[in-house]
């Protein structure tokens, strides 16, 4: 494929402006990531975990999406705001990065020889490369331009909200965050914003003994955007990890979560609600949870509403290692197809090597319940309103996974607005 010269020039200029540390802890980590990436190569459609999502769509040469200047999710929430514009840290728009119990620094500035993040950056991602390879995550570790390094030592009194904004309709962003939640500490991390024409993120989260990490994100809203995110987590004993993603629109969204439960009595929940309209909408949640300790609980709850030829993909796995007795694993993936052209492709997997466990999964797909619709209409609810109600009721089980009521309500309203805009 030949690209226009202007495009190539633009690319050279952009690359010339990038600076990747080649020394210190980062240089080492990035070098190792590049080696991993080279050994793996980029994924192809034949790879097992790419059979339902074409990786070629993530590497489109000229991603383009309109800029959304409006308000973003969680605007009303009292949080420490960190803003990235086209992947560049915006100090003016961001709050002061100091908060009691939380140390926040930027990846681009952490060019020291030693850093606490050295034991996380690229490390959790490396662990998450087996048994299924995730080359885009390695690429994220090798070439991230910036990101946040967050160390939580106490109970954060308000959430940290990362906001991704774009100013250019061709923004192509690659960020990498590391979060270390120390023993007994607690934090809520929010992510929102229209992000970029193409966004690649990797987040590595280390949750120590008895610590709690809450993660809620809203993927908005320009329809043309391409998003590929990865969350890698290591969860120690008695720790809690909870992550929720609301994904609205987008021609290509692939959210991968790789959770490694390594300590006894830990809890890991991931959930998501996604809505999409149009035959170019593609939303993929790929989740891999490994139980390597006793008496742990994991939950996966994913709901997708699809219309006008939209595609929803769910690939989820619960792996219970030998000895991970008393594991309680639950997984549900459901789709609501609002018309005959939309499709739902799912691969809910269990791989179990311990006998004293309780694991189950369910997956359903179908149209809106005609009987319920008829009932509501017979009670005088207009058809469109009745349909919205039923869709919201369908999404409610996923939203219920969010602990903080105000955050759940914010997302619920967003989803409701989307339904209003996409009625009929």
């Amino acid at each position: 494929m030949t690209l226009p010269q202007a495009k190539l020039d633009q690319l050279s200029a952009r690359i010339a402006g990038l600076h990747f540390p080649s020394t210190g802890w980062q240089g080492k980590a990035r070098g190792a990531a590049l080696e991993r990436l080279s050994a793996m190569g980029l994924p192809v459609r034949r790879d097992e975990y790419w059979r339902y999502t074409d990786p070629a769509k993530l590497v489109a040469p000229q991603p383009q999406a309109e800029v959304w200047g409006g308000e973003v999710a969680f605007d009303e929430i009292d949080a420490l705001k960190v803003v990235f514009v086209d992947g560049m840290f915006d100090a003016e728009a961001s709050d002061d990065l100091t908060m009691s119990g939380v140390e926040i620094s930027r990846l681009a500035e952490a060019v020291t020889d030693l850093h606490w993040a050295a034991e996380i950056y690229g490390e959790l991602e490396t662990k998450g490369q087996y048994p299924a390879q995730r080359p885009f995550a390695a690429l994220g570790s090798a070439f991230a331009t910036d990101g946040l390094l967050i160390r939580v030592t106490g109970k954060a009194d308000r959430p940290v909200a990362v906001i991704y904004r774009s100013s250019s309709n061709t923004s192509d962003v690659n960020l990498h965050h590391c979060v270390k939640v120390e023993e007994g500490a607690e934090i809520t991390l929010l992510e929102s914003g229209d992000a970029a024409a193409r966004l690649l993120t990797v987040m590595e989260v280390d949750v120590a003994k008895g610590a709690r990490f809450h993660h809620v994100r809203a993927q908005g809203r320009s329809h043309q955007r391409i998003v590929n995110t990865h969350v890698f987590a290591r969860i120690a004993e008695e720790a809690t990890f909870k992550s929720f993603t609301a994904s609205i629109n987008g021609v290509m969204t692939r959210n991968e979560a790789v959770l490694d439960i390594v300590g006894d009595d830990a809890v890991a929940h991931v959930a998501g609600a996604s809505v999409g309209d149009g035959s170019d909408f593609h939303n993929d949640d790929t989740v891999f949870i490994t139980h390597a300790a006793e008496r742990c609980e994991s939950r996966q709850v994913y709901k997708k509403v699809l219309k006008n030829g939209a595609t929803g993909v769910f690939q989820g796995k619960i792996l219970v290692k030998p000895g991970a007795q008393k594991t309680d694993g639950y997984q549900i993936s459901q789709s609501l197809l609002l018309d005959g052209d939309s499709q739902f492709l799912a691969k809910p997997e269990l791989e179990i090597y311990a006998d004293d466990v309780k694991c189950s999964h369910g997956s359903t797909s179908g149209a809106i319940d005609e009987t319920a619709l008829f009932y509501l209409r017979s009670r005088g609810v207009p058809e469109r309103r009745a349909q919205s109600l039923l869709v919201l009721a369908f999404l409610a089980e996923a939203l219920a996974e969010i602990e903080e009521e105000a955050l759940a309500e914010d997302l619920r309203l967003r989803l409701e607005n989307w339904l209003d805009r996409h009625e009929g």
Partner: protein
């Protein structure tokens, strides 16, 4: 070797006494059908090449088109690579180190009737409980209220040794014979349907089978005929280092019905043996086919030595409207099982059902499941899979349900349950669910659990021993599938479930 040395390290659960485990383990691996028939055999030379393919074709007295069909498959096979996506771990198979054709010498001149069949062969089947006398009944159902007769086609290594009740079936217009005979006697029918459900190039093992299949069964049920008795094929691998490649073709014309049973066993040997079969079923308008399998190939010993590598392609094509097919399988044998009986629901309102019990004990590995491909409107499918893992076995359910855009108002229900006995084994579920229209409803549920301690304790407290209690719980777990089996098989299957799990308690 002292018994203690052979005991794998397993955790003894509370309330289970060590002696029980030892007694049970001492009995483990008691494969009932592990004996060998000493009979003079005629082998084709070892290895695979075009000459062998031609030789098999010539031995079967096949017409030229059939030989060419085989050769085309063989050439195709050379270009293919063995699939390795299943959760199975086995050493490289040396395809040149196998015999592809083995036939009892006494079958050199084809016996005209069962009376002329070598008594050694008849005795073999008798010992297996498979009657080759027409008045006899399948073992285990004597005393049943209405004695049911079963027509049997017995395949011994590469050849069919005889088919019972042929004359009576012919009266009803039903053709039931070996596939080699069908190729000679009914070439038009075979030509019309062979390879139309499982094409020559379908997959590595099916392509290999297309090239070298030596025998198998052929069933043709004419329009509107309800087959007057159950049909059955019994496969026996006897010779050493011999691959068995049988091919079964069943054609059910409009409005017909047939119930077909398949059984298989093999002697105990230290080396692995290859079995790569193909079953094709064509179901036309309003026809119904029930296909039941009790697969009991030699599973290898407790250490995982020996056993059959079972790579099977089974597929039914519901070509007509309201066609119906039901697969029921009880998979207890084989060291390696790679098997996905599938339904293509092409006709509107056609139905596919899959009921499966897969038991893997000791070092067995099973990767089995089904595919339900919904193409027609208003099609229905149901999958009930029960996987049981014990010892150090790995048991995987792998299934696919696809609702094509045109398959409107269709329905699938899938239930996969896994039961783990012991902490050294694995149970896995790998479903693929593809829904491409919204008027169809797809539901998938899967659970994994262990034998319920409370149930076990309850049974034990009533005076039942551990072994009996586990068998009881397991049979309860499998009930839905056992009930789907024809009576002749249900009893055998139930007993087999208990035998297969011997030695797994702990």
């Amino acid at each position: 070797m002292a018994l203690e040395d052979t005991l794998p390290e397993i955790e003894v659960r509370e309330g289970v006494d060590r002696e029980t485990i030892e007694t049970v383990q001492a009995m483990a691996g008691k494969y009932k059908h592990g004996w060998e028939t000493e009979i003079e055999m005629e082998f084709a030379p070892k290895g695979l090449n075009e000459e062998i393919v031609r030789l098999i074709s010539a031995k079967n007295g096949e017409p030229e088109w059939m030989t060419e069909w085989r050769l085309a498959a063989y050439r195709r096979w050379l270009e293919m690579t063995e699939p390795r996506w299943a959760m199975l771990n086995y050493p490289e198979i040396d395809y040149q180190d196998l015999y592809y054709y083995a036939k009892p010498k006494s079958m050199e001149v084809k016996p005209k009737s069962l009376d002329e069949v070598d008594p050694k062969l008849l005795a073999t089947y008798e010992k297996l409980g498979i009657p080759l006398k027409e008045q006899a009944l399948l073992a285990g159902v004597e005393g049943a209220d209405a004695p049911q007769r079963v027509a049997v086609d017995a395949v011994f290594d590469s050849v069919s040794v005889g088919t019972t009740f042929k004359a009576e079936l012919a009266k009803a217009g039903v053709i039931f014979c070996s596939i080699s005979e069908a190729i000679r006697e009914y070439p038009e029918l075979v030509k019309k349907y062979l390879g139309t459900v499982v094409p020559q190039s379908d997959n590595y093992f099916a392509t290999l089978n297309s090239a070298v299949f030596s025998d198998g069964s052929f069933v043709y049920i004419p329009e509107g005929v309800r087959c007057p008795m159950e049909l059955s094929t019994y496969f026996r691998i006897n010779a050493e280092n011999t691959g068995q490649f049988e091919r079964t073709l069943i054609v059910a014309e409009k409005g017909s019905y047939v119930s077909y049973l398949e059984g298989c066993t093999a002697p105990k040997r230290d080396t692995n043996q290859l079995h790569a079969a193909v079953v094709e079923i064509v179901v036309l308008e309003d026809a119904e086919v029930k296909y039941s399998t009790v697969q009991n190939w030699f599973p290898g010993d407790e250490e995982g030595k020996g056993g059959i590598y079972n790579f099977v392609t089974k597929r039914a094509d519901c070509r007509g409207d309201r066609a119906k097919v039901m697969w029921t399988q009880v998979e207890t044998g084989s060291a390696i099982t790679w098997k996905y009986p599938s339904c293509i629901l092409r006709g509107n309102e056609s139905q596919g059902e899959f009921y499966s019990i897969a038991i893997a004990n000791n070092a067995q590995q099973a990767d089995t499941g089904t595919k339900m491909i919904h193409l027609g409107k208003n099609t229905r499918s149901r999958i009930v899979s029960k996987g049981i893992s014990a010892g150090r076995a790995q048991n995987t359910y792998r299934g696919q349900v696809t609702m094509h855009p045109r398959a409107t108002d269709s329905r699938n229900y899938t239930q996969c349950d896994s039961l783990l006995i012991g902490d050294q084994c694995g149970a896995h579920t790998v479903p693929y669910i593809e829904v491409k229209n919204n008027s169809s409803r797809v539901e998938h549920e899967a659970t994994t659990s262990k034998v319920d301690d409370d149930q076990l304790f309850y049974c034990r407290s009533r005076g039942m021993d551990e072994e009996e209690a586990v068998a009881l719980v397991v049979n309860g777990f499998c009930k839905e599938v056992l009930q789907a089996l024809p009576m002749e098989f249900a009893m055998e299957a139930q007993a087999l479930v208990a035998i297969s799990l011997e030695g797994s308690v702990g």
